[in-house]
C-alpha cells in the first residue's frame, strides 16, 4: 500500500486507474463511472473532511432556507420596533442621557444583535446534537465513513457559524437602516456577535453531547440560563444599575461581554482597552474550551 498522497488523482471520475490501459478504452460516461481509490478518499477526507460535513449540514439547512431567512429578517425588525422604537419613545423622553448620550435604540441594538446569536446557538447546539446521537442518529453515518469524529464536530460548527454570520449581517444591516450604528466600525459587531454566539454555543454543544436522555434538560437551559442571561446582561439597561449582588450574572455572561464590545463598535461606548481585551479573551476562551470539550465528548460517545 502506498501512503504517498497522490494529488490530482481522482479529480475526474475514471481518472484514478493508473497504467497504460487508461486512455485506450473510452466508453460512455455511464459505464466508465468509477469511484477513486480508497487511498484518495482517505487523503481527501483527511484534508477536507470538516468541510464535507459542513456541506451536509448546510444542505439540510437549505431545506428550510425560507424559514431561516424570514426569521433572520423578521426577528430584528420585530425587536427593534418594539424596543428600539416603541419602548424607546418613553425611555428617551424621560432620561435624555441615561445611556451615555445615545438614543435607547442605539443602546439596545448591539445587545439585541448579540442575544440573537446566543438564542440561535442555544437551539442549534442542543436538540440537533441529541438528534445526531440518539433520535435519528445522523452522526453514525459519517462516523462509519473516512471522516474523523473531530471533523464531524468541526463541520457542524462551521455550518452553524456560517448561519450566524448570515443572520448577524442581516441583523446589522437592519440596525444600520434604523440609523442605530453611527460608528464606521459598526460592522465589526457582526463577527463579535458570531463569536459571542459560539462562546455560549460550543460549551453547550459539549454538554448536549453528554446528555444520554432528554428529560427536559434543554428546556431548563433555555429557562434558567438563556432567559436570565438575556435579562441581566446589561441588555436593556446598564449592568451597573443592577444591585451589586446581581451584577455577577453579567460578568460571567458571554452576552454581557459581547454586548459591551458591540456598543463600543457601533456607537463608540467608552471601554478601557484592558477591559476590551478581557471581553475578547473571555469569549475566545469559552469558545475554545467548549470546542475542545465537545470534541472529547463526541469521540467518547461515538467510539464506544
Amino acid at each position: 500500500m502506498t501512503n504517498s498522497p497522490s494529488p490530482g488523482a481522482g479529480v475526474e471520475p475514471a481518472a484514478t486507474q493508473k497504467g497504460p490501459t487508461n486512455k485506450t478504452a473510452i466508453q460512455p460516461p455511464t459505464t466508465t463511472l468509477r469511484a477513486h481509490a480508497p487511498q484518495v478518499a482517505a487523503d481527501r477526507a483527511k484534508r477536507f473532511g470538516s468541510w464535507y460535513y459542513a456541506e451536509h449540514a448546510l444542505r439540510v439547512m437549505n431545506g428550510y432556507r425560507w424559514t431561516l431567512l424570514a426569521y433572520s429578517v423578521g426577528n430584528p425588525v420585530m425587536y427593534l420596533f418594539a424596543m428600539g422604537v416603541g419602548l424607546a419613545t418613553l425611555v428617551d423622553q424621560n432620561s435624555s442621557d441615561a445611556f451615555g448620550g445615545v438614543s435607547y435604540l442605539a443602546f439596545i441594538a448591539p445587545a439585541l444583535l448579540a442575544s440573537a446569536t446566543i438564542m440561535t446557538a442555544a437551539t442549534e447546539f442542543t436538540y440537533p446534537v441529541m438528534d445526531g446521537f440518539k433520535w435519528r442518529r445522523v452522526y453514525y453515518g459519517p462516523h462509519a465513513s473516512p471522516l474523523g469524529v473531530h471533523q464531524i464536530v468541526n463541520g457542524y460548527i462551521i455550518a452553524i457559524s456560517l448561519r450566524l454570520i448570515l443572520m448577524s449581517a442581516i441583523y446589522f444591516g437592519i440596525v444600520a437602516a434604523f440609523g442605530a450604528s453611527p460608528s464606521g466600525w459598526g460592522w465589526v459587531a457582526v463577527p463579535v456577535a458570531v463569536l459571542c454566539g459560539l462562546s455560549f454555543g460550543l460549551p453547550l454543544m459539549a454538554y448536549s453531547a453528554s446528555v444520554q436522555e432528554d428529560k427536559g434538560q434543554f428546556a431548563l437551559v433555555m429557562r434558567f440560563l438563556v432567559t436570565p442571561m438575556f435579562l441581566f446582561s446589561g441588555t436593556f439597561f446598564p449592568l451597573d444599575t443592577l444591585p451589586i449582588y446581581l451584577q455577577w450574572i453579567g460578568w460571567i455572561s458571554p452576552l454581557w461581554h459581547g454586548t459591551q464590545l458591540g456598543r463600543m463598535l457601533t456607537y463608540g461606548f467608552p471601554v478601557p482597552i484592558w477591559l476590551a481585551v478581557i471581553h475578547v479573551v473571555y469569549l475566545v476562551v469559552l469558545a475554545v474550551l467548549g470546542w475542545r470539550l465537545a470534541r472529547r465528548t463526541y469521540a467518547r460517545r461515538l467510539g464506544k
Partner: protein, 313 residues
C-alpha cells in the same frame, strides 16, 4: 506494508477481544476472510456480532488481540480502512431531513467524491435499489424495506470492495427480505466481499459461503452452512407436537428413536437420517402427535446443538 500472513485475506482477526467493564462482549475470536467471500456471523442477540462489526468498521476500539482490514489496523489507519468499506448498520441512520437522492450524494462527499461522479452514480444506485421513483421523496415517507435498501445503496456510493451488513433484514416483512437478498446476491456475484451478521438461519444459508456460529462472544463452530449441518446435525429432523402440556412427558417414551432427542417447550425434535421411518416408529409405539413434520436439518439445529438454546428467543 501488508505482511505475508494477511496478504491473502481482506480481513484477519486474531484473538480479538472487547470488554465493556467486566463483561466480555467479544471473547478471543479469530477468523480470516478471503477476498470475494461471503462471510457470516450467526448468533442470537447479544452474542457480540455487532461489536465485532464495529471493530471491523474501525469505529470501536478492541481491548486486545489483532485485527487487520486490507492489511491495515483500523485503530491506526481508521480513515484509510473506512475508505475501503461500505457499512450497513443495524439501525438505519439516514438523514431524514434530506431527500432520498441527496442522502446518497451527501454520503459520497464524505469520500471526497466529485459531484460529476456522484450524480450519475446516485441514479444508478437508486435503480439498483429499486427506488428510482422515490428519488425526490422525503426519507420518512419510505417503508422500512425501502429505507433498508436506501441504506444499502448509500453504502455502495464509494464502490467498496468490502460490505459490512449488520442484521440487514431484521424487522422486514418476508417480501422485502427476498428483494434485499436478491440485491445482496448480485453484489456477491460482482465480487464484493460481504460480511454479514444475522440471527436468521435462512438468511445465513442463502447468503453465506462460510460462517461462524457465535454465542456469548465466542466462536462455537466455523464452516460452510452445509458442512456445519453435516458435522453438528443429522440429515433430517422429525418435529412432533403433542400440545404444550405433554411435550416433555412424552419425550421419555420416545427414547431410542433416531440419533438424538431434543424436547423443547412447544415441540419435540428427533434427529435422524430418515424422518419418515422415525415417524413410523413413533406411531408404532402408540403415540399420536397433534402435528408432525419431517424436514431437512438447518443451521437452527446446529445452533441448538452447540448452545442448547434456539437462535430467536
Amino acid at each position: 506494508m501488508p505482511n505475508s500472513v494477511t496478504r491473502d485475506y481482506v480481513i484477519s482477526a486474531r484473538q480479538l477481544t472487547k470488554h465493556y467493564g467486566d463483561f466480555a462482549a467479544v471473547d478471543d475470536i479469530s477468523f480470516d476472510v478471503p477476498a470475494g467471500e461471503s462471510f457470516g456471523l450467526l448468533g442470537p442477540n447479544g452474542a457480540g456480532k455487532s461489536t465485532t462489526m464495529r471493530m471491523i468498521g474501525g469505529v470501536s476500539q478492541r481491548t486486545s488481540g489483532s485485527l487487520t482490514i486490507m492489511g491495515l489496523d483500523p485503530e491506526q489507519h481508521g480513515p484509510q480502512v473506512r475508505a475501503h468499506l461500505g457499512v450497513v448498520p443495524q439501525q438505519d441512520n439516514l438523514d431524514e431531513e434530506l431527500r432520498v437522492r441527496d442522502n446518497l450524494i451527501v454520503y459520497g462527499r464524505y469520500f471526497g467524491l466529485p459531484l460529476s461522479y456522484l450524480k450519475p452514480k446516485a441514479d444508478e444506485l437508486l435503480e439498483f435499489a429499486q427506488l428510482t421513483d422515490k428519488a425526490k421523496a422525503k426519507v420518512d415517507s419510505l417503508s422500512g424495506g425501502m429505507k433498508r435498501r436506501l441504506t444499502i445503496a448509500r453504502s455502495l456510493i464509494n464502490e467498496p470492495k468490502i460490505l459490512l451488513l449488520d442484521e440487514p433484514t431484521t424487522g422486514l416483512d418476508p417480501q422485502a427480505r427476498h428483494i434485499l437478498w436478491d440485491r445482496l446476491f448480485r453484489l456477491k456475484e460482482s465480487g464484493v466481499t460481504l460480511i454479514l451478521t444475522t440471527h436468521y438461519m435462512d438468511e445465513a444459508e442463502q447468503l453465506c459461503d462460510r460462517l461462524v456460529v457465535v454465542d456469548k462472544g465466542k466462536i462455537m463452530a466455523e464452516g460452510s452452512p452445509a458442512k456445519l449441518i453435516r458435522e453438528h446435525s443429522t440429515r433430517e429432523v422429525l418435529e412432533l407436537r403433542f400440545g404444550s402440556e405433554r411435550n416433555t412427558t412424552v419425550a421419555a417414551e420416545l427414547q431410542g428413536i433416531g440419533d438424538r432427542l431434543e424436547p423443547l417447550p412447544d415441540r419435540v425434535l428427533i434427529y435422524t437420517h430418515d424422518g419418515e421411518a422415525a415417524l413410523e416408529q413413533v406411531t408404532a409405539r402408540g403415540l399420536h402427535p397433534i402435528t408432525s413434520l419431517v424436514r431437512r436439518s438447518s443451521l437452527e439445529d446446529v445452533f441448538l446443538r452447540l448452545t442448547g438454546r434456539s437462535l430467536v428467543d
